[in-house]
């Protein structure tokens, strides 16, 4: 078969399907949101369909700025921790025997079946004063009295990492198991110790993968809005919490839409910046 280009309506049909799905499930809701973000709030009602850019103007408050920066910081930090833990973890899984690998993967998939609510409450229990892990430390004689670790920043970070880690490992698994096992061996014959090999060759060869996984975890965690409320204090609430609050409890749909769109734009810029930085470093083109 040497048809250079598909011709006619029929030949183009396969392309319509993804376009249609993308339209229905992404473009239409997004378009609706953009339109609503310019509407006027009607207190006690829904909204008035008039063009009003004041929602965006109202975003520029110190509170919004502080929450925005905190949200981005929390997601970035959690993603970094996830990649930092997940990468060596996945690397060692891929070096295990096939059976052991399957067991680990099943375990990780099982964690995915838990909802954010269950994970949140489970961690708040585990970190509590009455039933938490500090009781074990007291029992071991490492602590005087049991303390509550929740709510707090540490507890929130813990929860965020917990929900993103399985995804990180699942995404890292294919490229890591495809990595030529001769690469680390070559590094060893060239005089690199196992630790140096890990940092110079394994991380080096997979740097683009690491950037991609970091971005995935970052974007995924930006959407978390239950964990900050369960495990954090009000000052740890993220923008997603504020958006939920505006949309559901204040019934201010236009404001929530404006916040969401602005948040998305900022996140996209950061993702773009990360990809750009990852590519412009020497050797970034290869692999």
């Amino acid at each position: 078969m040497s048809t250079p280009l598909p011709r006619g309506f029929k030949a183009h049909l396969p392309f319509f399907y993804p376009a249609l799905m993308l339209g229905i499930f992404f473009l239409v809701p997004f378009g609706t949101m953009v339109v609503i973000s310019f509407f006027q709030r009607q207190v006690g009602g829904f909204y008035n369909p008039v063009f009003d850019p004041s929602n965006y103007r109202n975003l520029f408050t110190p509170l919004f700025g502080r929450v925005l920066i905190f949200s981005l910081f929390l997601s970035a930090l959690s993603s970094a921790v996830c990649v930092g833990i997940g990468f060596p973890f996945t690397y060692f899984i891929t070096r295990l025997r096939r059976r052991a690998q399957v067991i680990w993967m099943v375990f990780l998939l099982a964690v995915l079946s838990l909802s954010e609510v269950i994970i949140g409450f489970a961690w708040s229990l585990l970190l509590s004063r009455t039933a938490g892990i500090t009781n074990i430390l007291v029992w071991l004689g490492l602590m005087e009295t049991a303390v509550s670790l929740v709510p707090g920043f540490g507890a929130l970070l813990m929860g965020m990492c917990y929900i993103a880690l399985p995804y990180t490992v699942l995404v890292l698994y294919p490229p890591l198991s495809r990595l030529d096992p001769h690469l680390p061996e070559a590094a060893r014959t060239l005089g690199a110790s196992p630790l140096k090999t890990f940092f110079t060759v394994i991380i080096g060869a997979l740097r683009n993968t690491l950037v991609a996984v970091f971005i995935m975890a970052f974007v995924f965690l930006l959407g978390a809005y239950l964990l900050p409320q369960i495990l954090g204090r009000p000052r740890h609430w993220t923008l997603s919490v504020l958006i939920t609050d505006q949309a559901l409890y204040q019934s201010n749909m236009p404001m929530a839409a404006a916040m969401a769109i602005f948040f998305m734009a900022v996140s996209l810029c950061l993702v773009g910046l990360t990809i750009y930085l990852g590519k412009s470093r020497p050797g970034g083109k290869a692999s």
Partner: protein
Amino acid sequence: MSGLLFENISKHFGSVIAVQDVDLHLPHGRFVCFLGPSGCGKTTLLRLVAGLEPPSSGRILLDGEDITHTPAHKRNFGMVFQSLALFPHLTVGENIAYSLKIRGTERTEQARRTAELLELVQLPDMADRHIAQLSGGQRQRVAIARALAVDPRLFLLDEPLSALDAKLREEMQVELRMLQQRLGITTIVVTHDQREAMTMSDLVVVMGPDNRIHQVGPPLAIYRQPADTFVADFIGTSNLLPGTLSGRGEVSVRETRLKIGETPDDLAVGSQVSLSIRPENIIVRPGAIQGPNQLQGKVSFVRDVGSNVEIYLECQGLQLTSRSTPKGRPDLDQGDTATAELPPEACVVLTS
């Protein structure tokens, strides 16, 4: 003892035996080939030398120093892998300078040495290229340059040319051999290609499917005097005729008594043997038997490929293949009656 010494080396992976009872001495400065069919343990043996696997038993000594348990990164051996294992995230220059960088060599010295090595493998001015931009042959050269960067004590190559196409492979064989002669470095190459082994090496180590060493020696000596039927069959092509030792210097094959060159001293008259004779040593003539050491048969096939001619002869249920130059081509066609003369000095008696 100087050189590389294997003492009773064995390697098992669980219940699978990869290398069995290897005792071997490889002197300095030689080009050595580990030759054998796939699964014979030749790569495992090389990995034991490199320190990438520990042996299950036995010792490896280099110039009298026991290196059996020295970790790979402290051995200072250069190795070229079958997949080449070039670092995809580094440029050609960075790949070559990797071992220098690890050792903390000065930056200017790194650059000087890299340029020198690129010159050596005939890739000047390529230092800034990416690995993905190179052809198969160029990658090969980079892998060789990288392995040679720190003047290794041993140069190890695991099927280094298997990814190249036939023509380039032949060129690289000659080049590799010349490079080794220039540097005088002890080199071990793993290959399953007997032609490659014959082209390059001073010393061939033939390993068999039983994961043992069958024969060690210079390539021509192995070709002319194979130690057993496996070696005779694996190195080049050989006619193997079953027979009985009917006297000193005589083997009977299908009732025909054939004179042979030498009879091994440990063979008793009457024992079952195989007679090995290389195709190029068989002289085929049209017509019936006229003299001693001849077998009569029918031509079953003629393969004339221009550069040489092969005549397949069926003699009393035995297959004989003879090879000659186009000039020496006998005037024969399929179905003709012909006689094969087996010169006594070309007949080698093998026991197994």
